[in-house]
């Protein structure tokens, strides 16, 4: 047990340290989502204007952008396994008296911490885009972001354990990230898109993470007014979405632990 806990914290510590000592990464990871918000928001706001439930497009997109930032950061956390293998540092980790499961959980925890820092910075612009912030929102947001991040970093680690080169990992991830983001209701409500897209979006578990974060920010009113996710005529509640994301997390994290342990 102590080997699991020690592995968890030491790996998380190093990943956070790595993030903090890479200024380029900090700047890029914070400006990218803001850029998205500014461009898409400005591009759509005159065309779309006010949406159902008294929400405008920027307010609708803002929680989505937060979810997207969490998604990208978490999925790409798996790249550190690949780079560590390439530069040799992975051996230092693998030969230490810490458990492999602890290493995987530590990678995920490190990603969740980085994602939370990112979200904290993005929250600064909430008043600017007209999204109300309350203590209640924050209290729900922190665990939700952490959960979503842990789940998706599980997927990142799973892929990172198999990838043999950084280029391979990056390419595979791009292929995965684009559909996952664009078919997750970040930029448009999944109930009002063409049927094929709706089906794909509702099959994409990330959709429920995005909608959960949106419900935390905007409350249930917009969701019931058509901006939420309706499955078989049932509008998903926050609790149901948390359950879906959590269930997926158990599956992905177990797979990640299995994949990481099987390597020599």
């Amino acid at each position: 047990m102590t080997e699991l806990v020690r592995g968890l914290w030491v790996v998380a510590y190093r990943d956070i340290l790595g993030f903090l000592s890479d200024r380029f990464r900090i700047v890029a990871s914070l400006t990218f989502p803001l850029l998205f918000l500014a461009i898409f928001g400005a591009g759509f706001s005159n065309v779309i204007g006010r949406m159902a439930g008294g929400v405008d497009i920027v307010q609708f997109m803002y929680p989505g952008i937060i979810a997207q930032a969490v998604l990208t950061t978490s999925l790409f956390s798996g790249v550190s396994i690949v780079t560590d293998r390439e530069v040799g540092f992975l051996r230092e980790v693998l030969v230490a008296p810490i458990s492999r499961t602890g290493i995987v959980l530590g990678k995920a925890a490190g990603a969740a911490m980085v994602a939370l820092v990112q979200v904290a910075v993005l929250l600064v612009v909430a008043p600017v885009v007209g999204v109300p912030l309350s203590i209640g929102t924050m209290l729900q947001l922190v665990p939700m972001v952490a959960l979503l991040s842990l789940v998706l970093s599980g997927l990142g680690i799973l892929i990172g354990s198999f990838a043999r080169s950084q280029q391979g990992f990056q390419l595979f991830m791009q292929m995965l990230v684009f559909p996952m983001v664009f078919l997750a209701g970040v930029f448009f409500p999944v109930d009002s898109v063409p049927l094929w897209m709706e089906v794909l979006s509702k099959a994409n578990p990330v959709t429920y993470g995005v909608d959960a974060i949106r419900q935390i920010f905007l409350g249930t009113a917009p969701a019931t007014a058509g901006l939420g996710v309706t499955v078989f005529d049932h509008t998903m509640s926050l609790a149901e979405e948390v359950a879906i994301v959590g269930g997926l997390g158990v599956v992905l994290m177990s797979a990640a632990v299995w994949a990481f342990r099987r390597q020599e």
Partner: protein, 323 residues
């Protein structure tokens, strides 16, 4: 680096019994058995691809043996992996540092991972970084270090948690001769202070000379295991080389008069004699044929390897070293 502790036979630091590892069809290590005594420097000498790295990886719990058994510091490498890991320090042939972090951060990560208590950690960090002369550079990122500095930092890091055994896999590969000598000076210092057992793999012959005992490994098997001096004397003493105008005829005379078994390469004849310097004056006076040159030298480990395997250690580099 001869050690006075070699007689310590209490219980071996490393005990290996018919250890085997295959990768698919390829047998990288084919049933090796040996013991490493506490306090000795034990060397694995062999060409690339001989199975040195695979053996070390099994002893370090990174690769599972296909069959056979190995104990390190009394712990089984398959069933007591954590205890083995805590007992050993490692310096691999490729760097395993995080180059984005500073020297100190790399050391701290290691201390945390091995659960070194805080009081010990800070004292030890200072002592070891001082010893390898990197204390002044502790706040610099490893990325800015030279190859020699990185290797020194890895050695310091490998010792941070007070291991009983230090594994060095080709510790001076890719370093220039001067830096190599420095690394061995540090290792000598460390060994004197810490009562370390050192397990080393190398294909540098002069580096293998640092060992108390050497296992010569070839194609996954141990061809010989002894002290460097005894391995060399097994070759048959000093090597005398003469250059003549008629090699085969000179060889006949040497065979008939002295009973040695000379090797002829064109007009160069070479043979082993027990005491070369004493033999030479009489030989030169008594030999009937003209000679252009005469030489005598002590056998090297290269001769040992040639003698044992029929090949020069340098001529048969193969792939697979980094497995």
């Amino acid at each position: 680096m001869r050690s006075p502790m070699m007689t310590d036979t209490a219980s071996p630091m490393i005990e290996v019994d018919r250890l085997t590892r295959t990768f698919g069809q390829i047998e990288a290590v084919g049933g090796v058995s040996f013991e490493v005594r506490a306090g000795e420097v034990f060397g694995f000498l062999g060409p690339n691809g001989a199975g040195k790295t695979t053996t070390i990886s099994m002893l370090c719990t990174l690769v599972r043996p296909t069959s056979g058994r190995a104990q390190v510091n009394g712990f089984d490498v398959v069933h007591q992996r954590s205890d083995v890991r805590r007992s050993i320090g490692l310096v691999f042939q490729q760097s395993t540092l995080d180059e984005a972090l500073t020297a100190e951060q790399n050391m701290r990560f290691h201390a945390y991972a091995y659960g070194v208590p805080r009081e010990v950690r800070e004292r030890r960090l200072r002592e070891l970084l001082g010893l390898v002369e990197l204390w002044d550079r502790r706040k610099s990122r490893v990325r800015t270090f030279s190859g020699g500095m990185k290797r020194r930092l890895e050695i310091a890091r490998g010792l941070l948690h007070h291991p009983s055994i230090l594994f060095l896999d080709e510790p001076t590969l890719g370093l220039d001769p001067q830096t190599r000598r420095r690394v061995w000076e540090y290792l000598g210092d460390l060994r004197a202070r810490e009562r370390l057992t050192i397990f080393l793999t190398t294909h540098y012959l002069d580096e293998a000379e640092e060992a108390d005992r050497i296992a010569v490994i070839d194609s996954g098997r141990i061809a010989a295991l002894d002290t460097p001096a005894r391995l060399k004397s097994d070759v048959g003493g000093d090597l005398v080389t003469i250059a003549t105008s008629d090699g085969p005829r000179a060889a006949d005379e040497i065979r008939d008069r002295y009973g040695f078994a000379p090797a002829v390469v064109e007009d160069t004849v070479s043979f082993h004699v027990p005491a070369g310097e004493a033999f030479l004056p009489d030989f030169v006076r008594g030999f009937s044929q003209p000679m252009q040159a005469v030489g005598v030298r002590r056998p090297t480990l290269d001769d040992v390897f040639l003698h044992l395997t029929g090949r020069e250690i340098r001529d048969h580099a193969r792939d697979g070293e980094s497995r």
